[in-house]
Symmetry: C2
Subunit: 449 residues, 2 copies
């Protein structure tokens, strides 16, 4: 076993190569929800495979019915243990006007790396890969697999196809989560699930003149607003669909105590995410709402005239893009069924186009892998993690639980201020270098089991 100062020195030497790799990775706009980006997805897979091979891995680009999965492996002599690191190489769109830099050209400002995918999830992926090379150079006897997916942002529809042929491993580390505060490492024990849908109402063929028809004409925007208002109390966030909360498993008092020990700060949360105000001020209520309760959210709404001024048309259609975030023990199917029944009863003309459904997840809370994770985070960042929940959804986790039947834990490296899914998304060298140390420590710990 090599010493901590030696590891620190080895990590410091990676910085230039890490920044070069992240620049190349971010330059490929692997936006999985945009069909026109298919060739970029393929380029992303090819670049990933080439990168991992250069680090010394054996790599397959595994085809699926959808986007491929890049499977890299560092096989070590004498390894008795194995671990898979899950990351994704696809990214969110970057069409927000608020971007101050070109989103697919990594901007390096001191320790800070700005670009789409920098923290979600290319930066953490590359961090783990550099750590694996160090582990190999140090001769740590553990087999390390990389599962780099390219459909995470669209709900991982083809990842199960890959997993059906994937190697069995002793544990999985998912590196795609966010700390609660830069001051304390945090790891979730649970993830929310999700069911998204588009609600579309068409009441006419084309724009109509509101002077000629207004009063007798149906207004699809107003009807859709009425539906949204009937489903959701916008002030409290409470969902008004009957039965919506029936299967919600309330968090234990210990869990709630963990939520509050995570460094969660209501004002910092508000400020980091750029909100002018929140629905609640009490941290216990906020953490319960974002981690342990389901939601119904409107992500986008469209209909009618979108140009300057007011064009007094009555539009022929309106659309709302919505999601329900789900917690244990809710299921996407049941939530969708209740949504559908409610919508059809309220306005039978509204069409529902369901999209990705994802189960929620609860992780193990003890055992040797959890112990290794605690030591890894302590080595990388000076403190053991607070165990919280993740309000987001990672479909791949649910599928890995089904196929791999081993502990799936979370070694996330993103900070709230990195701006997941937001304009000016960033990552930083502090988290990358600490992450390399944490991963290396995890490999050492499980090799010693």
């Amino acid at each position: 076993m090599i010493s901590a100062p030696e590891i620190d020195a080895a990590i410091a030497q990676q910085r230039q190569a890490f920044e070069r790799a992240l620049t190349q990775a971010v330059a490929i706009p692997t936006v999985s929800m945009d069909p026109e980006r298919d060739s970029d997805i393929r380029r992303g897979a090819a670049w990933s495979a080439s990168f991992l091979r250069d680090l010394g891995a054996t790599v397959d680009i595994v085809q699926t019915p959808g986007n491929p999965v890049v499977w890299g492996r560092f096989a070590m002599p004498g390894a008795r243990r194995s671990v898979a690191i899950y990351n994704h190489f696809d990214v969110q769109p970057a069409d927000e006007p608020e971007w101050r830099t070109s989103p697919f050209e990594l901007k390096i400002e001191g320790e800070r790396y700005i670009g789409r995918g920098a923290t979600d999830d290319k930066g953490p992926a590359l961090t783990a890969a550099f750590a694996a090379r160090m582990a190999r150079e140090q001769g740590i006897p553990v087999d390390i697999h990389f599962f780099w997916e390219l459909e995470e942002e669209i709900g991982s529809p083809s990842f199960g196809s890959f997993l059906s042929g994937a190697p069995k491993v002793d544990s999985v580390l998912v590196s795609d989560t966010i700390w609660i505060s830069r001051d304390r490492p945090a790891a979730p024990l649970g993830l929310r699930g999700m069911q998204t849908a588009r609600l579309v109402l068409r009441t006419g063929d084309h724009d109509a003149h509101s002077g000629l028809t207004g009063g007798a004409a149906r207004n699809p925007i107003a009807e859709l607003c009425d539906l949204v208002a009937a489903m959701l109390d916008a002030d409290t966030g409470n969902v008004k669909i009957p039965g919506f909360y029936d299967e919600v498993r309330a968090p234990s008092p210990e869990e709630v105590a963990g939520f509050l020990a995570s460094g969660f700060d209501a004002e910092a949360f508000r400020s980091v995410h750029g909100f002018s105000s929140l629905r609640y001020r009490d941290p216990a209520e906020i953490t319960r709402r974002i981690w342990a309760l389901p939601t119904l959210e409107v992500h986008g709404i469209a209909g009618g005239y979108q140009g300057p001024g007011v064009k007094s048309v009555i539009p022929p259609w309106a659309e709302a893009k919505i999601s329900m975030r789900l917690v244990p023990d809710m299921t996407p199917a049941k939530a969708l069924e209740r949504l559908t029944a409610f919508v059809k009863a309220h306005n039978p003309d509204v069409e529902i186009f369901p999209e990705a459904g994802l189960d929620s997840y609860l992780a193990p809370t003890g055992g040797p892998h959890v112990g290794a994770l605690k030591k890894a985070m302590a080595a990388g960042f000076g403190r053991e993690p607070a165990f919280v929940r993740e309000g987001g959804s990672i479909g791949a986790v649910v599928q890995m639980q089904r196929h791999l039947d081993c502990p799936i834990l979370f070694l996330g490296l993103s900070l709230p201020e990195h701006g997941y899914h937001a304009p000016n998304e960033s990552f930083d060298w502090h988290m990358a270098s600490g992450g390399m140390k944490a991963f290396t420590t995890y490999f050492q710990e499980i090799a010693a089991l």
Copy 2:
């Protein structure tokens, strides 16, 4: 006085020149609500002036604080009477994807003329101008003025400036209204007014991740939907703002009888405007709703992700573009005041950006000019007009009433199937040729008073 067959023959000879002029007029995209079309507005004014001069008029392009007004006049020897014809030469935007032809290239299909502005209001404007040339050639002793505005679609903010220097006339004919049915001429006795506004709610700086923040974060789309639902019953169209209906003057039984005698057909109305269904089936209720009652309408709504699929962001803002159509004796100021009070009480963070406000209008119901109009329509189209109301708003009418202090009547030439403000807007030779005869007859009638 010349005979009707001579007039018919003279009109038939105008067709080619009329189609050439309409082609040229439609080719200039005089979209007044688009600031980038300013040079097209100027080109539209120049073309109009040149066209009227070619017909024999004396023309001034009268500058205002906004867009110019084209003032043409045919002074006749021995004229004791004068009339002004009001039309507008600006048009609605033509950004609807449903256009089957290029909106600013007039497509002539037999008798039908397809293009933006064909019926609203360039076709009727040119019709009246050709009729004036015929009146002049026939020596009808009446002075005919043309007021061609270029800001009608944005509420005529500068027309009052023009009118303060405009000539006094004995009557005005506004040619910018729509019949109820192609089978019977119709002329409105009243117009609805209007107050438009944009409602904007901002709750954050940028898109936030709904997994990380959903539940505690405010959702501006959901809050705006809640506001819309609180203001308007989407099923009935009833406005729920307290006091909204207080100043509404109910139509007399005679007026309601006129509404039903106009040829109004609920199924034809639904079909012509392309609606899948209406809020009401009873023609009396429909005509009351579209002509004699005020409305609150949502013309456009925006916020959040607009691309393919569902991007699970919580957006930072949402906007609704709304209008209130007003009837006698409501005023825009009072309606806006009630709207503002309601919005601020319901959600104080919503900002209100009021736009154009227009008064409603009621015309005289008798007298020699109304008699002349009846004869004119009968000559042009075989039947006297049914007197109805117009659900739309013409700001210029209210201003002319204020400045000119003479009867303002409506000689409209548009049909429901022409698609005012809609994609594939059209006009036709039947209405143009009948219109030329109607205008010529009106000139003869008032010359003989």
